[in-house]
C-alpha cells in the first residue's frame, strides 16, 4: 500500500525519505497485526523499494551499491521494530489478562463469601470456570479419610478420574487426566488445603491440556482452588459453631427438664409419704373418715406417680428407638375399645360419643402403641374439658389416610401454644389440679409419626379443641420390612 502512495511522489521526494514511509508501514503492521505480518511487511518493503524506487526502476537490480546498505538497514530495523512492537503488544495483552484474572478472583472471592453449602461452592466454581475457560467444576470432599463426590450435574467422573482425584488428595499435588474421550476434555485436579489439612479435591474440566495453558492461567486455576478451599473451611467452621451452640442449648434444656421431672416425681411421693406417715404415727387420733381419706390420698397419688413413670419410660423408649413399630391391620373400633378400656372408671361420669362406622377399612397400626397415643389424647380431653361436656371420637377416611379425631368442648388451645403443646413437659396449666407430667402429647406425636403419620390440632369454632391423628391406610415403605418378618 505504501508503494501506491509512494510512486507518484517518486519524482519529488528523495528515496531516503521514502524509506521512512516504509518503516512507518512496518511499525503499523507490527502494532496492529503482530510479529509475523510485520516481518513479512519488512521483506515486502525492501523488495518494493528496490523495484519501484531504486534506479533502474522496475527491476531487482541495483545501480548504486549504497542502496544495498539501505536495504539491509531497512530490513534490520523493520525486523527489530516488528519484534519490539510485537513484544509490546504481548505485554499489553498479558497485562490485560492479569487485570481480568485479578478482577475474576475478586468477584469469585466475593461470591464465595456468601455461599453456605458445598453444592453452592461447586455451582459457583462452575460458573467461573465456564466464564474464563469454558469449562466446568466438580468437587470432592473428604469424609472420614475418604473422598466423596458432592453432587453436581453433568460432569462425569469415571474410575480413572476418581483414582487421579484420590492421588491428588493423598499426595497434595495437582494432577490431571483425560475425562472425556470424545470431547477431548481434561480434568485438572487441585488439592483443597485448609488449616485442617487437605479437605478435598477440586476438579476443573477444561477443553485443553494444562501444558497448553500459560503459567498465568495455571496460577489462576490454583487461585480458584485456594478460594474454594477457603470457602469450604468457612462453611465447616460455621457448622461446628452452630452445633456447639445447639449442644449448649440442649444441655441447658436438659438441666431444666431434670429439675422439672424431679419436682413432678417428688410431689406425689411427698403426698404418699405424708399420708402413710400420718397413718403410722397418728393412728390413735384418727377416726375412720380421716383414715379413709389418707388412704385414698395415698392411693390416688400413687396412681399419678405410676402414670408419670410410665410416661417417662414411654418417652425414653420412643426416643431411643428401642420399641420398633410393628404394624398390623386392626379395626379402628378395636383401637378405640382398647384405649377407652384403659381409661376405666374415669369414663363413668363422662359422656363419650363414638363415631366410628363399621365400614371403615382396617388400619395398619401397632396396637399397644397406637392405643397409648389415642389414650393420651382422650386423657387430655378429659382433663381439660368440663365434666358436663361430651367428648367425641370421630373416625373417617380422607384420601388414603385414616383421620381419627378427639374433640372436646373445653377452652381450646391458644393460637400461640399450638406448636408448643407438643413439646416435652409443656403444660398449659401448671397446677396440682390438672395432673400430668406434660408428656402425653409428645408421646402421642412420636408414636403417630413412627407410623408414618402426624397429629394436627385445631380449635372448634364453637369452642374446644380437635386433635386429629392422621395415618396412612397403607403400610409405609420403611415399616414394610417388619411386616414381612412376621
Amino acid at each position: 500500500m505504501t508503494t501506491l502512495i509512494g510512486i507518484p511522489l517518486r519524482s519529488f521526494i528523495d528515496p531516503t525519505n521514502l524509506v521512512m514511509l516504509y518503516l512507518l508501514a512496518v511499525v503499523l503492521a507490527a502494532l496492529r497485526l503482530g510479529r509475523y505480518p510485520a516481518v513479512l511487511a519488512s521483506f515486502l518493503s525492501v523488495l518494493a523499494f528496490d523495484v519501484f524506487f531504486v534506479q533502474p526502476y522496475n527491476t531487482f537490480a541495483v545501480a548504486d551499491a549504497q542502496f544495498v546498505l539501505t536495504f539491509a538497514a531497512l530490513l534490520g530495523v523493520g525486523l527489530l521494530i516488528s519484534t519490539l512492537a510485537a513484544q509490546a503488544r504481548e505485554q499489553e495483552k498479558a497485562a490485560q489478562d492479569r487485570a481480568t484474572h485479578t478482577r475474576t478472583l475478586y468477584e469469585l472471592s466475593r461470591d464465595l463469601a456468601l455461599v453456605l453449602d458445598p453444592i453452592d461452592v461447586v455451582n459457583t466454581m462452575t460458573t467461573y470456570t465456564d466464564r474464563i475457560f469454558r469449562g466446568k467444576a466438580v468437587l470432592l470432599l473428604a469424609y472420614n479419610e475418604e473422598l466423596k463426590l458432592v453432587k453436581q450435574t453433568d460432569c462425569h467422573l469415571d474410575k480413572q478420574g476418581l483414582d487421579v482425584a484420590d492421588r491428588v488428595f493423598r499426595e497434595g499435588k495437582p494432577a490431571e487426566c483425560l475425562v472425556d474421550n470424545q470431547g477431548e476434555v481434561y480434568g485438572a485436579f487441585f488439592p483443597l488445603r485448609s488449616t485442617q489439612g487437605i479437605i478435598g479435591v477440586l476438579g476443573l474440566w477444561l477443553s485443553k491440556l494444562s501444558t497448553t495453558l500459560t503459567s498465568e492461567q495455571w496460577r489462576l486455576l490454583e487461585a480458584f482452588a485456594s478460594l474454594a478451599a477457603q470457602a469450604l473451611t468457612r462453611i465447616n467452621l460455621m457448622l461446628e459453631a452452630r452445633q456447639t451452640q445447639l449442644l449448649r442449648e440442649s444441655e441447658k434444656l436438659q438441666s431444666a427438664l431434670l429439675n422439672s421431672i424431679s419436682h413432678d416425681l417428688r410431689t406425689p411421693l411427698a403426698s404418699i409419704t405424708g399420708a402413710l406417715s400420718s397413718l403410722r404415727e397418728d393412728a390413735a387420733f384418727l377416726d375412720e373418715a380421716a383414715r379413709s381419706l389418707l388412704i385414698n390420698t395415698a392411693w390416688e397419688q400413687a396412681a399419678r406417680l405410676d402414670e408419670f413413670v410410665g410416661n417417662l419410660l414411654d418417652m425414653t423408649r420412643l426416643e431411643a428407638g428401642v420399641r420398633k413399630v410393628k404394624p398390623e391391620f386392626y379395626d379402628v373400633q378395636d383401637l378405640v375399645g382398647v384405649a377407652l378400656e384403659r381409661l376405666g372408671v374415669r369414663l363413668d361420669e363422662r359422656d363419650i360419643i363414638i363415631k366410628v362406622p363399621e365400614t371403615l377399612p382396617p388400619a395398619p397400626i401397632d396396637l399397644p402403641l397406637m392405643a397409648q397415643a389415642l389414650f393420651n389424647l382422650v386423657d387430655n380431653a378429659l382433663k381439660y374439658s368440663p365434666r358436663d361436656c361430651p367428648i367425641v371420637i370421630d373416625a373417617k377416611v380422607v384420601d388414603t389416610n385414616l383421620q381419627l379425631a378427639v374433640i372436646d368442648e373445653g377452652p381450646g388451645i391458644p393460637a400461640e401454644d399450638s406448636m408448643r403443646i407438643f413439646n416435652k413437659f409443656y403444660r398449659v396449666q401448671r397446677s396440682s389440679e390438672v395432673a400430668g407430667i406434660g408428656l402425653g402429647l409428645p408421646i402421642s406425636m412420636g408414636i403417630v409419626e413412627a407410623h408414618g403419620g402426624r397429629i394436627s390440632v385445631a380449635n372448634r369454632s364453637k369452642g374446644g379443641a380437635v386433635f386429629t391423628i392422621i395415618i396412612p391406610l397403607e403400610i409405609p415403605l420403611n415399616l414394610q420390612e417388619s411386616e414381612k418378618k412376621e
Binding site: 419410660l313 398390623e328 391391620f329 379395626d331 373400633q333 378395636d334 375399645g337 377407652l340 399397644p368 412376621e486
Partner: protein, 230 residues
C-alpha cells in the same frame, strides 16, 4: 371347695411384694407359701401342693417362662404370672408355655382376686355345661345356638368355633397363637389377620357397640379374653 382350704404359692424375689400378697391372700382366707426363685418353686410345688401359683416373670436364676415350662411338663396347676408393662414377648411366651393368666405390675388386690377366682373356678368346675350365659349373651353348645338379648345370631362355623373357645375359657386370656391353634389348627399360628377379621365380625354380631366391647376384650399385644366377672 371353699376358699379357706385353698393353698397359694407366691413366687417373687421382691420381699415387699411377697409381704403384701401374703397379707392380702391370708385376709381373704388363702393359705400362703413363698418361694424366691425357680428351684425353690419346683421344690415348693412338690412339697406344699399349692392349688395355684402366682409367679413373677423377672426371677433371678430362671426366667419365669422356664419355670412355667418345667412345671407344665408334669403339672396342670394354675399359674398366674406377674409382669411389668412392655414385657410383651415374655408374657406371651409364658402364656403359650401354659400359664393361665397374667397381671401387670402395679396391680390392685382386687384385680388379682378376680383373676384368681376365674382360674380356680375352672379347676373346681371343669365341665362348663352345655349352656353358657353371661349378661345378654347365651351360648348353647349342645345345639350350637347363640342368642343375644333373646334373638338368635347367625354365625359362620369359624366364628362359632372362635366364640366357643373363648367361652370355654371364659375370663381367661387366650393368646393369638392359642386361639389360632384351637380354632384353625396347627400350622396357622402366623395367620393373625385371620383371627382379627373373625373377631371383628364376631363382635359386630354379638356386641351392641364394637368400639366399647362388653364381651370380647382385646388384650393388646397378647390376645383376647371373654370378659367374665364372677
Amino acid at each position: 371347695m371353699n376358699e379357706t382350704e385353698l393353698r397359694v404359692l407366691v413366687v417373687d424375689d421382691e420381699r415387699a411384694i411377697r409381704r403384701f400378697l401374703r397379707t392380702s391372700l391370708t385376709a381373704n382366707g388363702y393359705i400362703v407359701f413363698e418361694a424366691t426363685n425357680g428351684d425353690e418353686t419346683l421344690e415348693a410345688v412338690i412339697r406344699d401342693r399349692p392349688d395355684l401359683i402366682i409367679l413373677d416373670l423377672g426371677l433371678p436364676d430362671m426366667e419365669g417362662v422356664e419355670v412355667t415350662m418345667r412345671l407344665r411338663e408334669w403339672s396342670h396347676i394354675p399359674i398366674i404370672i406377674l409382669s411389668v408393662r412392655d414385657q410383651e414377648a415374655d408374657k406371651i411366651a409364658a402364656l403359650d408355655a401354659g400359664a393361665d393368666d397374667y397381671l401387670t405390675k402395679p396391680f390392685s388386690v382386687g384385680e388379682l382376686m378376680a383373676r384368681m377366682r376365674v382360674v380356680l373356678r375352672r379347676v373346681a368346675h371343669p365341665e362348663i355345661g352345655p349352656v353358657f350365659t353371661i349378661r345378654d349373651l347365651v351360648v348353647d353348645m349342645a345345639r350350637r345356638l347363640v342368642l343375644v338379648r333373646g334373638r338368635e345370631v347367625q354365625l359362620t362355623p369359624t366364628e362359632y368355633d372362635l366364640l366357643r373357645v373363648l367361652v370355654t375359657h371364659a375370663g381367661k386370656v387366650l393368646t393369638h397363637q392359642q386361639l389360632l391353634r384351637q380354632v384353625w389348627g396347627l400350622g396357622y399360628e402366623g395367620d393373625s389377620h385371620l383371627l382379627r377379621v373373625n373377631i371383628s365380625n364376631l363382635r359386630q354380631k354379638i356386641e351392641s357397640n364394637s368400639a366399647r366391647p362388653e364381651y370380647i376384650v382385646t388384650e393388646p399385644g397378647v390376645g383376647y379374653r371373654l370378659r367374665f366377672d364372677i
